[in-house]
């Protein structure tokens, strides 16, 4: 089997993302493609529409700080106990990004609608929240199946150009093991061109050969390109493989307080590609 799905490097993978592309990204622990993120910054991508499924942290803050993002759609940006997303806050204050605050199930439902390629999907809740006031792309209609008045929100489907993810391994045919993180498959399926995937390694196995592994597999048909990136989620973690590098996150949050500090961080860890010792 030819491995036409395998790119020579993460840099090559990153060239598939054009300026202005809409990309969907997962949250910490699920396989955030941090090495791809750094490659995108190195190649100077601009005007991304970043859809966080359903939240993000370092990945969004880095891309925003590096000036790669025009539109941010997310239910939260949070470093948890590890600090504050200063670049996100600075961009909000400066008005340099278009902010689309959402709620987690709305992003999930819109991505699920994208996977079915239906134009919209209804969702409960939301009415009365100020989120709705600021989302002119969300509509309220009266449920046409109800006997009485029953207002409900309709969300337009999200079909990103790419889902950008990191996973433990690909098999010899380019199928990707994602385990129980079915959300990653939904994102890849919803994406017009499929998923751009980094993997820790390629294994000479067939994931589709057994029911056990097939159930946790993203089939190659949804993959627009893959590259090997060992520790490709670093400094974030990858479940069962490595933990989040909490010290690095705290250091980042300190540095990124100022534009200067952030520039130094980019120079050292993105452009000069320093990685913390394993």
């Amino acid at each position: 089997m030819s491995q036409d799905w395998l790119r020579s490097s993460v840099e090559e993978l990153a060239t598939q993302v054009s300026d202005g592309a809409k990309i969907a990204v997962p949250h910490d622990g699920l396989g955030v493609a941090m090495e791809t993120t750094r490659a995108l910054i190195r190649r100077g991508v601009r005007d991304l529409h970043l859809v966080c499924v359903p939240v993000s942290d370092l990945q969004a803050d880095l891309l925003i700080g590096a000036g790669c993002v025009r539109t941010l759609e997310t239910s939260a940006i949070s470093f948890g106990e590890h600090g504050t997303p200063h670049r996100f806050h600075a961009a909000l204050k400066a008005g340099t990004i278009e902010m689309r605050d959402a709620t987690c199930p709305a992003i999930h439902a819109a991505i699920e609608a994208g996977r079915k390629n239906i134009p919209f999907i209804p969702l409960r809740g939301i009415i009365g929240s100020d989120l709705l006031t600021h989302r002119s792309d969300w509509k309220v209609i009266d449920n046409p199946f109800a006997a009485h008045r029953d207002p409900i929100v309709l969300l337009p489907a999200i079909r990103p150009d790419f889902a950008v993810i990191h996973a433990p391994y690909a098999d010899r045919d380019g199928n990707i093991f994602i385990g129980r993180q079915h959300d990653l498959a939904v994102m890849a399926q919803a994406a017009i061109h499929g998923a751009l995937v980094t993997v820790e390694e390629v294994r000479d196995v067939d994931l589709l050969a057994s029911e056990e592994t097939a159930a946790g597999t993203l089939p190659a048909i949804y993959v627009a390109g893959s590259a090997v990136a060992a520790r490709g989620a670093w400094p974030l973690g990858l479940a069962d493989h490595y933990e989040t590098d909490e010290a690095h996150l705290r250091d980042y949050s300190q540095l990124a307080r100022t534009a200067d500090g952030f520039a130094r961080y980019l120079d050292e860890f993105v452009h000069r590609r320093r990685q913390a010792a394993e």
Binding site: H27, G29, L30, V53, P54, V55, T74, S75, A76, I77, S78, G80, E81, F88, H89, L92, K93, G95, M99, D101, A102, T103, C104, P105, A106, H108, A109, E112, L123, R124, G125, I126, I127, G128, S129, D130, L131, H134, R149, D150, P151, I152, R180, Q181, H182, D183, L184, V186, A239
Partner: protein, 249 residues
């Protein structure tokens, strides 16, 4: 035995959750997580033993779900989540909550919090939402939130099988009267007073017939919290356990 603030809260939450079949707890919520584990422990000790399904978001082992993050929200819509916890940078007297930001003009708020997460959905659908915010101050408990992430219950014809049962803080436990859309002070934690609650609350609330002191855990319960519960929760909230239950971490 001295009961710590955390232990009192865990015990209070455990009692609130006891009637549930299924409880979900957010990713950064060690006290609610411990409270849910306590309720599960009690349910398993009933005759016959009763099973309480527990999902701590982000945990691998304390997790009844297998289909990813969307599953929590679908379960809530199905009526399979009986209780969940929400907080807020601001909470007002009509139980509106704000997880987005304060001051300024959205989106250029003076303060920005992470964002609304699942609140604008779960608040409508989960029958027992427990508002949990340790800090009890006029900064948090405001007359009117600056941004409504999720609105308190109101008679607007919107499908809303769920909503808040009350608000638990470091000072007290308020129930919430959904019909009158007001908090009712039910119990004040040991060492605190109604006066103190009033001084630190920016919104009006009602006072139940007789405000009692929040019941502390008995000795057996305290042992359970400090032993098995602390050990079980260590997986999901390592840092918290190291801080509060150093012997279990």
């Amino acid at each position: 035995m001295t009961v710590s603030r955390q232990e009192l809260l865990i015990h209070t939450i455990g009692r609130l959750l006891l009637p549930c079949r299924s409880v979900a707890v957010g990713a950064s919520s060690p006290i609610p997580g411990a409270g849910a584990l306590l309720a599960r422990h009690w349910a398993a000790a009933e005759t016959p033993p009763r099973r309480l399904f527990l999902t701590i978001l982000g945990s691998r082992h304390l997790n009844a779900m297998t289909s990813g993050g969307v599953e929590l929200f679908d379960m809530a819509a199905q009526g399979r989540i009986d209780a969940f916890f929400l907080g807020g940078g601001q909470i007002d007297g009509e139980a509106n909550i704000n997880l987005v930001g304060a001051g300024g003009t959205y989106p250029q708020t003076n303060v920005r919090w992470p964002g609304s997460f699942g609140s604008a959905y779960l608040y409508y659908l989960v029958p027992r939402v427990i508002l949990f915010r340790e800090e009890h101050s006029r900064r948090v408990m405001v007359p009117r939130v600056d941004f409504v992430s999720a609105p308190g219950p109101r008679a607007d014809g919107v499908y809303r099988p769920g909503g808040p049962v009350g608000l638990l803080t470091n000072l007290c436990w308020f129930s919430f009267d959904r019909r009158r859309r007001r908090f009712v002070l039910e119990t004040v934690h040991p060492g605190h007073t109604v006066e103190e609650v009033r001084d630190n609350t920016g919104f009006d609330f009602d006072i139940g017939g007789d405000v009692r002191t929040t019941a502390p855990p008995d000795a057996a319960t305290l042992e359970t919290i400090r032993g098995p519960i602390a050990r079980q929760i260590a997986e999901a909230y390592r840092r918290f356990v190291a801080q509060v239950f150093p012997t279990a971490a």
